[in-house]
Amino acid sequence: MNALLVVEDVHKRYGKEEVLKGVSFQLEKGETKVIIGPSGTGKSTLLRCINRLTEPDRGRVWLDGVEVTSPKTNINSIRAQIGFVFQDFNLFTHLTALENVRLGPMRVLGMKKTDATELAREELARVGLADKANAYPAELSGGQQQRVSIARALAMNPKLILFDEPTSALDPELIGEVLEVMIQLAKEGMTMVVVTHEMGFARSVADEIIFMEKGVIVEQGPPAQLFSSPKHPRTAEFLRKITELYGGEG
Protein backbone atom coordinates (compact mmCIF):
# COMPACT_ATOMS: atom_id res chain seq x y z
CA MET A 1 0.00 0.00 0.00
CA ASN A 2 1.58 3.24 -1.13
CA ALA A 3 -0.67 5.88 0.37
CA LEU A 4 0.26 7.35 3.76
CA LEU A 5 -3.31 7.22 4.98
CA VAL A 6 -5.98 4.82 3.80
CA VAL A 7 -9.54 5.11 5.07
CA GLU A 8 -11.74 2.25 3.98
CA ASP A 9 -15.50 1.99 4.34
CA VAL A 10 -15.71 3.68 7.76
CA HIS A 11 -19.11 3.57 9.46
CA LYS A 12 -20.21 5.25 12.67
CA ARG A 13 -23.60 5.29 14.31
CA TYR A 14 -24.78 7.28 17.34
CA GLY A 15 -27.96 5.60 18.56
CA LYS A 16 -30.41 5.67 15.68
CA GLU A 17 -28.49 8.12 13.59
CA GLU A 18 -25.89 6.79 11.22
CA VAL A 19 -23.31 9.59 11.02
CA LEU A 20 -20.87 7.88 8.68
CA LYS A 21 -22.24 5.50 6.06
CA GLY A 22 -19.11 4.02 4.57
CA VAL A 23 -16.44 6.61 3.83
CA SER A 24 -13.27 5.75 1.92
CA PHE A 25 -10.39 7.92 0.75
CA GLN A 26 -6.62 7.91 0.49
CA LEU A 27 -3.92 10.44 1.15
CA GLU A 28 -0.41 10.52 -0.27
CA LYS A 29 2.55 11.83 1.67
CA GLY A 30 2.77 15.62 1.37
CA GLU A 31 -0.79 15.93 0.17
CA THR A 32 -3.41 18.32 1.57
CA LYS A 33 -7.03 17.25 1.44
CA VAL A 34 -9.81 19.57 2.44
CA ILE A 35 -13.15 18.17 3.53
CA ILE A 36 -16.13 20.46 3.06
CA GLY A 37 -19.83 19.97 3.55
CA PRO A 38 -22.83 21.09 5.58
CA SER A 39 -22.77 20.92 9.39
CA GLY A 40 -23.70 17.60 10.93
CA THR A 41 -22.59 15.48 8.00
CA GLY A 42 -19.95 13.58 9.92
CA LYS A 43 -16.83 15.48 8.89
CA SER A 44 -15.53 15.84 12.43
CA THR A 45 -16.56 12.30 13.30
CA LEU A 46 -14.60 11.08 10.28
CA LEU A 47 -11.45 12.87 11.48
CA ARG A 48 -11.85 11.42 14.95
CA CYS A 49 -12.30 7.94 13.53
CA ILE A 50 -8.90 8.24 11.86
CA ASN A 51 -7.01 8.33 15.18
CA ARG A 52 -9.81 6.53 17.01
CA LEU A 53 -10.67 9.36 19.38
CA THR A 54 -14.02 8.05 18.20
CA GLU A 55 -14.15 4.30 17.68
CA PRO A 56 -15.54 3.48 14.22
CA ASP A 57 -18.22 0.77 14.13
CA ARG A 58 -16.98 -0.71 10.89
CA GLY A 59 -14.29 -0.13 8.32
CA ARG A 60 -10.54 0.08 8.46
CA VAL A 61 -7.85 2.75 8.62
CA TRP A 62 -4.16 2.36 7.78
CA LEU A 63 -1.36 4.78 8.57
CA ASP A 64 1.86 4.15 6.70
CA GLY A 65 0.98 0.49 6.22
CA VAL A 66 0.00 -0.10 9.87
CA GLU A 67 -3.64 -0.87 10.50
CA VAL A 68 -4.86 1.76 12.98
CA THR A 69 -8.15 -0.04 13.52
CA SER A 70 -6.60 -3.38 14.40
CA PRO A 71 -7.13 -4.27 18.07
CA LYS A 72 -3.48 -5.39 18.20
CA THR A 73 -2.21 -1.92 17.31
CA ASN A 74 -1.00 0.28 20.14
CA ILE A 75 -3.28 3.24 19.54
CA ASN A 76 -1.19 5.60 21.66
CA SER A 77 1.83 5.15 19.42
CA ILE A 78 -0.38 5.75 16.36
CA ARG A 79 -1.85 8.92 17.87
CA ALA A 80 1.64 10.19 18.63
CA GLN A 81 2.25 10.13 14.86
CA ILE A 82 -0.96 11.98 13.98
CA GLY A 83 -1.31 15.61 14.95
CA PHE A 84 -4.81 16.76 15.84
CA VAL A 85 -5.91 20.38 15.89
CA PHE A 86 -9.27 21.00 17.57
CA GLN A 87 -11.88 23.59 16.75
CA ASP A 88 -11.73 24.98 20.29
CA PHE A 89 -7.94 24.57 20.65
CA ASN A 90 -8.04 22.53 23.88
CA LEU A 91 -4.74 23.88 25.09
CA PHE A 92 -3.84 22.60 28.55
CA THR A 93 -5.16 25.37 30.79
CA HIS A 94 -2.61 24.94 33.57
CA LEU A 95 0.44 25.10 31.29
CA THR A 96 2.16 27.98 29.53
CA ALA A 97 2.41 28.00 25.74
CA LEU A 98 5.92 26.54 25.97
CA GLU A 99 4.86 23.84 28.44
CA ASN A 100 1.89 22.96 26.24
CA VAL A 101 4.17 22.37 23.28
CA ARG A 102 6.83 20.37 25.12
CA LEU A 103 4.48 18.15 27.13
CA GLY A 104 3.96 15.62 24.32
CA PRO A 105 7.66 15.31 23.38
CA MET A 106 8.53 14.87 27.07
CA ARG A 107 5.76 12.60 28.25
CA VAL A 108 4.99 10.64 25.10
CA LEU A 109 8.26 10.58 23.14
CA GLY A 110 10.43 10.50 26.26
CA MET A 111 12.52 13.49 25.24
CA LYS A 112 14.76 15.17 27.83
CA LYS A 113 13.40 18.40 29.29
CA THR A 114 16.16 20.61 27.86
CA ASP A 115 15.73 19.12 24.38
CA ALA A 116 11.96 19.35 24.57
CA THR A 117 12.19 22.96 25.68
CA GLU A 118 14.46 23.84 22.79
CA LEU A 119 12.16 22.04 20.36
CA ALA A 120 9.13 23.82 21.81
CA ARG A 121 10.82 27.20 21.34
CA GLU A 122 11.52 26.35 17.70
CA GLU A 123 7.94 25.28 17.06
CA LEU A 124 6.56 28.40 18.74
CA ALA A 125 8.85 30.50 16.57
CA ARG A 126 7.57 28.59 13.54
CA VAL A 127 4.01 29.75 14.28
CA GLY A 128 5.22 33.26 15.09
CA LEU A 129 4.77 33.11 18.85
CA ALA A 130 8.34 33.00 20.18
CA ASP A 131 7.54 35.95 22.43
CA LYS A 132 4.50 34.25 24.00
CA ALA A 133 6.33 31.21 25.39
CA ASN A 134 5.49 32.04 29.00
CA ALA A 135 1.90 33.11 28.49
CA TYR A 136 -0.95 30.94 29.74
CA PRO A 137 -3.71 30.05 27.25
CA ALA A 138 -6.15 32.45 28.94
CA GLU A 139 -3.71 35.28 28.26
CA LEU A 140 -3.68 34.60 24.51
CA SER A 141 -6.16 35.52 21.80
CA GLY A 142 -8.07 32.74 20.06
CA GLY A 143 -5.83 32.98 17.02
CA GLN A 144 -2.71 32.76 19.16
CA GLN A 145 -4.12 29.80 21.07
CA GLN A 146 -4.83 27.97 17.85
CA ARG A 147 -1.30 28.65 16.62
CA VAL A 148 0.10 27.26 19.89
CA SER A 149 -2.03 24.18 19.39
CA ILE A 150 -0.60 23.78 15.89
CA ALA A 151 2.89 24.11 17.39
CA ARG A 152 1.92 21.45 19.93
CA ALA A 153 0.99 19.12 17.09
CA LEU A 154 4.15 19.95 15.12
CA ALA A 155 6.43 19.25 18.10
CA MET A 156 5.50 15.57 17.86
CA ASN A 157 6.96 15.51 14.35
CA PRO A 158 3.78 13.90 13.04
CA LYS A 159 3.36 12.07 9.75
CA LEU A 160 0.05 13.78 9.26
CA ILE A 161 -2.01 16.52 10.91
CA LEU A 162 -5.79 16.48 11.14
CA PHE A 163 -7.47 19.89 11.43
CA ASP A 164 -11.02 19.89 12.75
CA GLU A 165 -12.54 23.25 11.73
CA PRO A 166 -9.50 25.10 13.07
CA THR A 167 -10.88 28.58 12.44
CA SER A 168 -14.58 28.10 13.24
CA ALA A 169 -14.27 29.28 16.85
CA LEU A 170 -12.30 32.40 15.92
CA ASP A 171 -13.33 36.00 15.49
CA PRO A 172 -13.13 36.86 11.78
CA GLU A 173 -10.12 39.15 12.18
CA LEU A 174 -8.11 36.30 13.77
CA ILE A 175 -8.77 33.69 11.09
CA GLY A 176 -6.08 34.97 8.76
CA GLU A 177 -3.12 34.40 11.10
CA VAL A 178 -4.11 30.76 11.59
CA LEU A 179 -4.68 30.14 7.88
CA GLU A 180 -1.29 31.67 7.09
CA VAL A 181 0.42 29.14 9.36
CA MET A 182 -1.50 26.30 7.71
CA ILE A 183 -0.70 27.54 4.21
CA GLN A 184 2.97 27.67 5.18
CA LEU A 185 2.80 24.09 6.49
CA ALA A 186 1.21 22.89 3.26
CA LYS A 187 3.96 24.56 1.26
CA GLU A 188 6.61 22.86 3.43
CA GLY A 189 5.11 19.54 2.43
CA MET A 190 3.20 18.64 5.61
CA THR A 191 0.51 16.03 5.00
CA MET A 192 -2.82 17.42 6.14
CA VAL A 193 -6.52 16.67 6.25
CA VAL A 194 -8.49 19.83 6.93
CA VAL A 195 -12.19 20.12 7.71
CA THR A 196 -13.12 23.73 7.07
CA HIS A 197 -15.64 26.22 5.74
CA GLU A 198 -12.86 28.50 4.48
CA MET A 199 -13.36 28.13 0.75
CA GLY A 200 -10.54 30.52 -0.10
CA PHE A 201 -8.13 28.33 1.82
CA ALA A 202 -9.57 25.18 0.23
CA ARG A 203 -9.22 26.59 -3.26
CA SER A 204 -5.65 27.80 -2.87
CA VAL A 205 -4.11 25.04 -0.74
CA ALA A 206 -5.97 21.77 -1.29
CA ASP A 207 -4.64 19.16 -3.66
CA GLU A 208 -8.07 17.66 -3.54
CA ILE A 209 -11.44 18.66 -2.12
CA ILE A 210 -13.80 16.12 -0.64
CA PHE A 211 -17.44 17.14 -0.46
CA MET A 212 -19.33 15.21 2.20
CA GLU A 213 -23.03 15.19 2.91
CA LYS A 214 -25.16 13.01 5.18
CA GLY A 215 -22.37 10.64 6.05
CA VAL A 216 -21.07 9.90 2.55
CA ILE A 217 -18.57 11.42 0.15
CA VAL A 218 -20.69 12.94 -2.60
CA GLU A 219 -17.87 14.11 -4.80
CA GLN A 220 -14.13 14.63 -4.73
CA GLY A 221 -11.69 16.27 -7.06
CA PRO A 222 -9.10 19.00 -7.51
CA PRO A 223 -10.35 22.42 -6.37
CA ALA A 224 -10.30 23.98 -9.83
CA GLN A 225 -12.63 21.32 -11.17
CA LEU A 226 -14.85 20.97 -8.11
CA PHE A 227 -15.40 24.69 -7.64
CA SER A 228 -15.93 25.59 -11.30
CA SER A 229 -17.76 22.57 -12.61
CA PRO A 230 -19.09 20.35 -9.82
CA LYS A 231 -20.48 17.10 -11.17
CA HIS A 232 -23.09 16.59 -8.53
CA PRO A 233 -26.04 19.00 -8.10
CA ARG A 234 -25.75 18.75 -4.29
CA THR A 235 -22.16 19.98 -4.48
CA ALA A 236 -23.22 22.91 -6.63
CA GLU A 237 -26.02 23.72 -4.24
CA PHE A 238 -23.69 23.67 -1.22
CA LEU A 239 -21.08 25.83 -2.96
CA ARG A 240 -23.74 28.35 -3.94
CA LYS A 241 -25.02 28.57 -0.34
CA ILE A 242 -21.59 28.86 1.23
CA THR A 243 -20.61 31.58 -1.21
CA GLU A 244 -23.68 33.58 -0.22
CA LEU A 245 -22.79 33.07 3.44
CA TYR A 246 -19.07 33.71 3.48
CA GLY A 247 -18.53 35.68 0.27
CA GLY A 248 -16.59 34.67 -2.82
CA GLU A 249 -13.11 33.78 -1.67
CA GLY A 250 -14.03 33.19 1.99
Binding site: R79, N90, L91, F92, H94, L103, A138
Partner: protein, 232 residues
Protein backbone atom coordinates in the same frame (compact mmCIF):
# COMPACT_ATOMS: atom_id res chain seq x y z
CA UNK B 1 -13.10 38.29 88.86
CA UNK B 2 -13.17 34.76 90.14
CA UNK B 3 -13.31 33.56 86.56
CA UNK B 4 -10.17 35.46 85.59
CA UNK B 5 -8.35 33.99 88.56
CA UNK B 6 -9.33 30.53 87.29
CA UNK B 7 -8.13 31.43 83.82
CA UNK B 8 -4.81 32.46 85.34
CA UNK B 9 -4.61 29.18 87.21
CA UNK B 10 -5.31 27.17 84.05
CA UNK B 11 -2.56 29.27 82.51
CA UNK B 12 -0.11 27.31 84.65
CA UNK B 13 -1.32 24.20 82.85
CA UNK B 14 -0.85 25.92 79.51
CA UNK B 15 2.59 24.43 78.67
CA UNK B 16 1.10 20.97 79.21
CA UNK B 17 -1.90 21.77 77.02
CA UNK B 18 0.28 23.20 74.28
CA UNK B 19 2.54 20.17 74.32
CA UNK B 20 -0.54 17.98 74.05
CA UNK B 21 -1.75 20.07 71.12
CA UNK B 22 1.29 18.96 69.10
CA UNK B 23 -0.25 15.48 69.20
CA UNK B 24 -3.34 17.01 67.58
CA UNK B 25 -1.10 18.44 64.88
CA UNK B 26 0.58 15.09 64.30
CA UNK B 27 -2.79 13.40 64.08
CA UNK B 28 -3.96 16.14 61.72
CA UNK B 29 -0.94 15.55 59.48
CA UNK B 30 -1.49 11.80 59.40
CA UNK B 31 -5.21 12.01 58.73
CA UNK B 32 -4.76 14.61 56.00
CA UNK B 33 -2.20 12.46 54.19
CA UNK B 34 -4.43 9.37 54.43
CA UNK B 35 -7.48 11.42 53.47
CA UNK B 36 -5.74 13.07 50.54
CA UNK B 37 -4.33 9.87 49.03
CA UNK B 38 -7.46 7.78 49.55
CA UNK B 39 -9.70 10.70 48.60
CA UNK B 40 -7.86 11.13 45.30
CA UNK B 41 -8.02 7.41 44.59
CA UNK B 42 -11.75 7.22 45.39
CA UNK B 43 -12.49 10.28 43.23
CA UNK B 44 -10.53 8.80 40.30
CA UNK B 45 -12.35 5.48 40.64
CA UNK B 46 -15.71 7.23 40.75
CA UNK B 47 -14.97 9.18 37.58
CA UNK B 48 -12.84 6.74 35.57
CA UNK B 49 -13.22 3.42 37.38
CA UNK B 50 -16.02 1.95 35.31
CA UNK B 51 -18.99 0.19 36.78
CA UNK B 52 -17.46 -2.26 39.25
CA UNK B 53 -14.68 -0.15 40.76
CA UNK B 54 -16.88 2.93 40.59
CA UNK B 55 -19.56 1.19 42.64
CA UNK B 56 -16.99 0.02 45.19
CA UNK B 57 -15.79 3.63 45.51
CA UNK B 58 -19.34 4.92 46.00
CA UNK B 59 -20.07 2.32 48.70
CA UNK B 60 -16.81 3.22 50.46
CA UNK B 61 -17.70 6.90 50.37
CA UNK B 62 -21.23 6.24 51.60
CA UNK B 63 -20.02 4.14 54.56
CA UNK B 64 -17.40 6.62 55.74
CA UNK B 65 -19.70 9.59 55.36
CA UNK B 66 -22.59 7.91 57.16
CA UNK B 67 -21.00 6.40 60.26
CA UNK B 68 -20.45 8.96 63.05
CA UNK B 69 -16.83 9.88 63.70
CA UNK B 70 -17.00 8.66 67.31
CA UNK B 71 -18.32 5.29 66.21
CA UNK B 72 -15.52 4.99 63.64
CA UNK B 73 -12.96 5.80 66.32
CA UNK B 74 -14.28 3.07 68.59
CA UNK B 75 -14.50 0.59 65.74
CA UNK B 76 -10.91 1.17 64.66
CA UNK B 77 -9.61 1.11 68.22
CA UNK B 78 -11.49 -1.86 69.61
CA UNK B 79 -12.12 -3.72 66.36
CA UNK B 80 -8.59 -5.07 65.81
CA UNK B 81 -8.34 -6.41 69.37
CA UNK B 82 -11.24 -8.72 68.51
CA UNK B 83 -8.74 -10.46 66.25
CA UNK B 84 -5.96 -10.26 68.80
CA UNK B 85 -4.18 -7.33 67.15
CA UNK B 86 -3.05 -4.39 69.20
CA UNK B 87 -3.49 -1.01 67.56
CA UNK B 88 -2.08 2.19 69.05
CA UNK B 89 -4.49 5.03 69.79
CA UNK B 90 -2.63 7.20 67.31
CA UNK B 91 -2.89 4.71 64.45
CA UNK B 92 -6.54 3.95 65.21
CA UNK B 93 -7.39 7.66 65.27
CA UNK B 94 -5.38 8.36 62.09
CA UNK B 95 -7.17 5.60 60.21
CA UNK B 96 -10.66 6.34 61.52
CA UNK B 97 -10.48 10.08 60.91
CA UNK B 98 -8.28 9.78 57.81
CA UNK B 99 -10.57 7.36 55.99
CA UNK B 100 -13.58 9.41 57.07
CA UNK B 101 -11.95 12.54 55.66
CA UNK B 102 -11.04 10.68 52.46
CA UNK B 103 -14.75 10.18 51.80
CA UNK B 104 -15.35 13.92 52.08
CA UNK B 105 -12.19 14.80 50.16
CA UNK B 106 -13.19 12.42 47.36
CA UNK B 107 -16.31 14.55 46.90
CA UNK B 108 -14.21 17.69 46.56
CA UNK B 109 -11.79 16.06 44.10
CA UNK B 110 -14.54 14.41 42.08
CA UNK B 111 -16.28 17.75 41.64
CA UNK B 112 -13.02 19.34 40.57
CA UNK B 113 -12.20 16.56 38.09
CA UNK B 114 -15.66 16.75 36.57
CA UNK B 115 -15.37 20.53 36.25
CA UNK B 116 -12.48 20.12 33.81
CA UNK B 117 -13.71 20.38 30.22
CA UNK B 118 -13.63 17.06 28.33
CA UNK B 119 -11.47 18.67 25.65
CA UNK B 120 -8.50 18.53 28.05
CA UNK B 121 -8.58 14.74 28.23
CA UNK B 122 -9.28 14.54 24.51
CA UNK B 123 -6.25 16.70 23.65
CA UNK B 124 -4.02 14.63 25.92
CA UNK B 125 -5.20 11.37 24.36
CA UNK B 126 -4.78 12.83 20.86
CA UNK B 127 -1.11 13.43 21.67
CA UNK B 128 -0.75 9.73 22.35
CA UNK B 129 -0.88 9.82 26.14
CA UNK B 130 -2.34 6.83 27.90
CA UNK B 131 -5.29 7.52 30.14
CA UNK B 132 -3.13 7.23 33.25
CA UNK B 133 -0.56 9.67 31.89
CA UNK B 134 -3.29 12.10 30.88
CA UNK B 135 -4.75 11.94 34.38
CA UNK B 136 -1.31 12.44 35.93
CA UNK B 137 -0.10 15.31 33.76
CA UNK B 138 -3.27 17.07 32.66
CA UNK B 139 -6.28 16.24 34.82
CA UNK B 140 -4.92 16.08 38.37
CA UNK B 141 -2.72 19.21 38.23
CA UNK B 142 -5.81 21.16 37.23
CA UNK B 143 -8.19 19.36 39.58
CA UNK B 144 -6.02 19.90 42.67
CA UNK B 145 -5.85 23.61 41.96
CA UNK B 146 -9.61 23.81 41.54
CA UNK B 147 -10.06 21.83 44.76
CA UNK B 148 -8.13 24.17 47.07
CA UNK B 149 -11.14 26.24 48.26
CA UNK B 150 -13.25 23.16 49.01
CA UNK B 151 -10.27 21.46 50.57
CA UNK B 152 -9.70 24.44 52.90
CA UNK B 153 -13.20 23.91 54.18
CA UNK B 154 -12.53 20.23 54.86
CA UNK B 155 -9.28 21.22 56.56
CA UNK B 156 -11.07 23.51 59.03
CA UNK B 157 -13.44 20.72 59.82
CA UNK B 158 -10.88 17.95 60.45
CA UNK B 159 -8.58 20.14 62.55
CA UNK B 160 -11.34 20.16 65.13
CA UNK B 161 -12.14 16.47 64.70
CA UNK B 162 -8.72 15.62 66.14
CA UNK B 163 -10.09 16.42 69.62
CA UNK B 164 -12.46 13.46 69.31
CA UNK B 165 -9.47 11.14 69.58
CA UNK B 166 -9.48 11.55 73.37
CA UNK B 167 -12.12 8.80 73.44
CA UNK B 168 -9.50 6.25 72.35
CA UNK B 169 -7.16 7.62 75.05
CA UNK B 170 -4.85 9.48 72.71
CA UNK B 171 -2.90 11.99 74.80
CA UNK B 172 -4.03 15.03 72.90
CA UNK B 173 -5.20 18.41 74.15
CA UNK B 174 -8.81 17.51 74.88
CA UNK B 175 -7.79 14.58 77.04
CA UNK B 176 -5.63 16.88 79.17
CA UNK B 177 -8.37 19.48 79.42
CA UNK B 178 -10.67 16.77 80.64
CA UNK B 179 -8.08 15.59 83.18
CA UNK B 180 -7.88 19.14 84.54
CA UNK B 181 -11.67 19.20 84.78
CA UNK B 182 -11.77 15.85 86.55
CA UNK B 183 -9.29 17.05 89.16
CA UNK B 184 -10.55 20.61 89.60
CA UNK B 185 -14.13 20.87 88.46
CA UNK B 186 -14.17 24.66 88.99
CA UNK B 187 -11.48 25.01 86.31
CA UNK B 188 -13.53 23.23 83.60
CA UNK B 189 -14.78 26.37 81.90
CA UNK B 190 -11.38 28.03 81.87
CA UNK B 191 -9.54 25.00 80.52
CA UNK B 192 -11.98 24.47 77.67
CA UNK B 193 -11.61 28.14 76.80
CA UNK B 194 -7.87 27.49 76.51
CA UNK B 195 -8.60 24.62 74.14
CA UNK B 196 -10.89 26.86 72.13
CA UNK B 197 -8.15 29.51 71.83
CA UNK B 198 -5.64 26.94 70.63
CA UNK B 199 -8.05 25.88 67.87
CA UNK B 200 -8.87 29.42 66.90
CA UNK B 201 -5.15 29.80 66.30
CA UNK B 202 -4.80 26.49 64.41
CA UNK B 203 -7.71 27.22 62.10
CA UNK B 204 -6.60 30.76 61.47
CA UNK B 205 -3.01 29.85 60.58
CA UNK B 206 -4.10 26.83 58.54
CA UNK B 207 -6.47 28.91 56.46
CA UNK B 208 -3.83 31.58 56.03
CA UNK B 209 -1.40 28.96 54.69
CA UNK B 210 -4.02 27.55 52.32
CA UNK B 211 -4.84 31.05 51.12
CA UNK B 212 -1.16 31.59 50.33
CA UNK B 213 -1.12 28.27 48.51
CA UNK B 214 -4.15 29.18 46.45
CA UNK B 215 -2.51 32.44 45.39
CA UNK B 216 0.79 30.70 44.71
CA UNK B 217 -0.79 28.10 42.42
CA UNK B 218 -3.32 30.39 40.75
CA UNK B 219 -3.28 30.22 36.97
CA UNK B 220 -5.14 32.67 34.78
CA UNK B 221 -8.18 31.06 33.22
CA UNK B 222 -8.22 28.04 35.52
CA UNK B 223 -11.19 28.24 37.87
CA UNK B 224 -14.37 26.45 38.77
CA UNK B 225 -17.11 27.17 36.23
CA UNK B 226 -19.20 30.09 37.40
CA UNK B 227 -16.47 31.37 39.68
CA UNK B 228 -15.60 34.97 39.05
CA UNK B 229 -12.08 36.26 39.37
CA UNK B 230 -13.24 39.79 39.93
CA UNK B 231 -14.61 40.85 43.29
CA UNK B 232 -17.92 42.59 42.94
Amino acid sequence: MEFFRQLWEVGTYLPMLLRASTVNLELLGALLVIGFLMGTLVALLQVYGGRLLGTVAYVYEWVFRSVPALVLLFLFYFGPSEFGWYISPFLAASLALGLRSSAYQSQIFRGAIQAIPTGQMLAARALGMSRVRAILHVILPQAFRLAIPGWSNEFSSVVKDTTLAYVVSLNEIMRYAKIIMDRRYELAMASFIMVALVFLFFTYSGNWLLGQMERRFRIPGLQMPGASSTVL
